[in-house]
Symmetry: C2
Subunit: 455 residues, 2 copies
């Protein structure tokens, strides 16, 4: 919905770039332009952009592109760019760089921005401290609305938002938040103190990302203040950063559910070696785990030799356990991420999942029984003892589905309890666990039911 009409040269060089008038471009348009150009052209563009334009466009670029540009710009220009970024954007970018490069860049900042950056980076990764920006507008109770509006007019320009103002006392302790609209509706001579209700929602600086996301979701806010344990206002977090972080968290969860290490960059930007490296680790671990199925089956080799028919149902039985385990673990992982359930609910979850697993196992077991019976009416594939085979297979399916469902539901809670991310490769891990144990269940049931006939 923008109306950019400029005709651009196919290749941007130091010669032709000066002829382009970027003054009418919005930061988003510039970001799109920069994104689609080569490294050299990007540098050319940044050279001619007037300072506020350049940094604004830069902040609209994805982190991976920002990183590329920062690395390819001359040191002085990179430092200028970093200096002018909003502190929260800068922290997010520096997080992406190797620590050696970070300290180099930090040396290039002005003393003021350097102190600020070091402070923000001192909060643990994944905490609210890393997301906040100190660019808020703080006001006092004894100011009039007129004074506040004058103050905003004077100092509001370089603040990330003026939609909400923060009332603090002389020690910097947060007393209340006021939306600018409330000031617009109030008389100019009213005091800030008359408009406050001393009720506010704030994030703790040490809270983790997920807590922040959930507080934003529950409270319909676009910006929240951040305080320390003394209640002192340290900064604000805006919802656009939260939307970004929520997306990253969900991406990580989804990738881990799929049995990959979280990619740090978009799929297409991830180089092939990096893509392989992120995937091979868990695949090898799962493969080594799955080797236990060969060992388990080696143990039952004699039974298989006697009753080859048992081998035919191996994939069916273990995959039923794997599928029901995947269902349970993804449901629980997601519900935990949304804070709908926690470790304390383990007993209720266990009860629900045992009942669910039993019903699901019964359904699949009956279908399996019916299938073997039906086949046996028309073919001799399952032999004379087809009824016992059908019984063995259906009971095994029932047992394996209950077991898969239960362990799928409990694994994320267990991982969380041990301090890991509940999504850590839970789903394929469950599948592997259930494959190995499922075989043992299957052959144990078979050895009881088929004793004296096939075995």
């Amino acid at each position: 919905m923008t109306n950019q009409q400029t005709e651009l040269p196919i290749s941007l060089t130091s010669d032709n770039i000066h002829r382009i008038d970027f003054s009418q471009w919005t930061p988003q348009e510039l970001a799109t332009l920069i994104e689609n150009r080569s490294k050299n052209e990007r540098i050319q563009i940044f050279k001619v952009l007037s300072p506020p334009k350049g940094v604004e466009a830069f902040s609209f670029l994805p982190l991976s592109t920002q990183k590329d540009i920062l690395n390819s710009l001359p040191a002085r220009q990179a430092a200028k760019l970093l200096n002018d970024l909003f502190p929260d954007d800068r922290t997010a970018l520096l997080e992406e760089l190797p620590s050696g490069v970070v300290s180099q860049f930090i040396q290039l900042l002005t003393p003021e921005e350097k102190a600020l950056t070091l402070k923000l980076l001192s909060y643990p990764e994944g905490s609210v401290g890393r997301l906040m920006t100190p660019d808020y507008v703080a006001i006092k109770k004894n100011w009039t609305v007129r004074e506040v509006l004058d103050y905003v007019r004077k100092y509001g320009h370089d603040r990330e938002t003026v939609n909400v103002l923060y009332v603090i006392d002389d020690h910097g302790v947060l007393l209340d938040d006021i939306r600018i609209r409330e000031l617009l509706f109030a008389s100019l001579d009213a005091y800030v103190g008359d408009l406050t209700d001393n009720k506010f929602i704030a994030l703790s600086v040490t809270a983790d990302d997920e807590t922040a996301i959930n507080i934003f979701r529950k409270n319909d806010r676009t910006v929240l203040p951040v305080i320390d344990s003394q209640g002192i206002l340290l900064g604000i977090v805006t919802i656009d950063d939260i939307l970004q972080v929520a997306e990253e968290e969900d991406t990580e969860d989804i990738q881990m559910i799929g049995g990959t290490e979280a990619l740090d960059e978009p799929y297409m930007q991830t180089s092939l070696p990096a893509l392989i490296q992120k995937r091979v680790g868990w695949l090898v671990i799962l493969f080594i785990g799955e080797m236990l199925t060969a060992s388990a089956l080696g143990f039952f080799e004699e039974e298989i030799a006697k009753a080859v028919v048992l081998a035919l149902f191996i994939p069916l039985i273990i995959s039923s356990g794997g599928n029901s385990g995947s269902q349970a673990s993804t449901l629980i992982i997601r519900a935990m991420a949304l804070r709908e359930i926690g470790i304390k609910d383990w007993f209720r979850i266990m009860r629900r999942e045992i009942i669910t697993g039993f019903c699901l196992g019964l359904a699949l077991g009956l279908i399996g029984f019916f299938r073997i019976t039906l086949w046996s009416l028309f073919s001799d594939l399952y032999g004379a003892h087809w009824f016992l085979v059908a019984l063995t297979v259906s009971l095994s399916i029932l047992a394996v589905v209950v077991w898969g469902t239960l362990s799928g539901a409990m694994m994320p809670l267990f991982l969380k309890k041990c301090g890991f991310d509940p999504a850590t490769s839970s789903t394929p891990f469950i599948a592997t666990l259930v494959d190995v144990t499922g075989l043992i269940i299957y052959f144990s049931i078979a050895s009881v039911i088929l004793y004296g006939t096939l075995l």
Copy 2:
């Protein structure tokens, strides 16, 4: 971080509820209180809340609780509540109700709200039209800043946001958006027309949720205007609704990746029969698909009888294909949801995934080869032809992993192409597909390599 100190009776009845002073409570506090009370107590609370308090608290409740309350309130009170809700909140709530109930409630609305509600509900589910609210502030180019601020003071109270104002022409066509801060920084006598740059980003009313989410993510906005194909301003969408919708979309994707139909309510609020019903469908479909493995193996029964050792590696081989397929499909599903890739990229994706699959398959195949060789040095489990067995297994793993990776990556693109959601049970579906085809690959390779020795 709120300081509610009121002592509440353990049970809220029509007798004691009048003695509680709710005037100091914030809507969020009231929502938390309501959420944790029984059905009867909830009705009591809504009876005594003054109208704006009640509706504000209501709008902070989760949809499932809103639904319960609406169904248990007397019709007149329910109608009042619906009338007072912001139109976007109302649409979201009505979407959750059965259509018979919806038309009943709509009849209870005032003619004005009724017309508006019917209009919003006429947009397709999952479109921007369902998310928008018409409660914006529209201004004209020839107004002065002073006039605008007076207008906001007079009419801004019942608007969802006044942080951004919308400049329209006499036909209602959107010309620009202006943040209220720009007005605060400007002289009171300046004209709106002097402050506009005629550049704005708008959502099309027919665009789908995911497009809207991506536009919000890319543009760092907290509110965006919605226009029709003529450019006429119809409403606004605020980012808090987008955060909600993004969460729902991700939840659906994750649940579908896990092989469940998307639950419509939080895990713990979903009744056991509903939970089972959402899970049994796909589980049965996958089970029936997986039955083909029994058929495929039935076809190879003779080979298994001759070389039981082949049966030992069945789970290892098919699970390697399943795991690598899961990785590929979840990576692609997520990248598609984030609009990083689309159907048009299929060829590049295919190339990347074939190379990746080959490297991953090679790694696993080598480990498998090494494992069988090592075992054979110390035991006789794999017989005299262990080398040929090792070769068969490793080559099968390589082939199955390449095949699993490729089909895992292509399946979401194919589903999308056919008009389905790419996440629709892709991951377990891939596992099932790869299980069946993997067996055929395995026994085909075996019949070539082991011909004349074991087979």
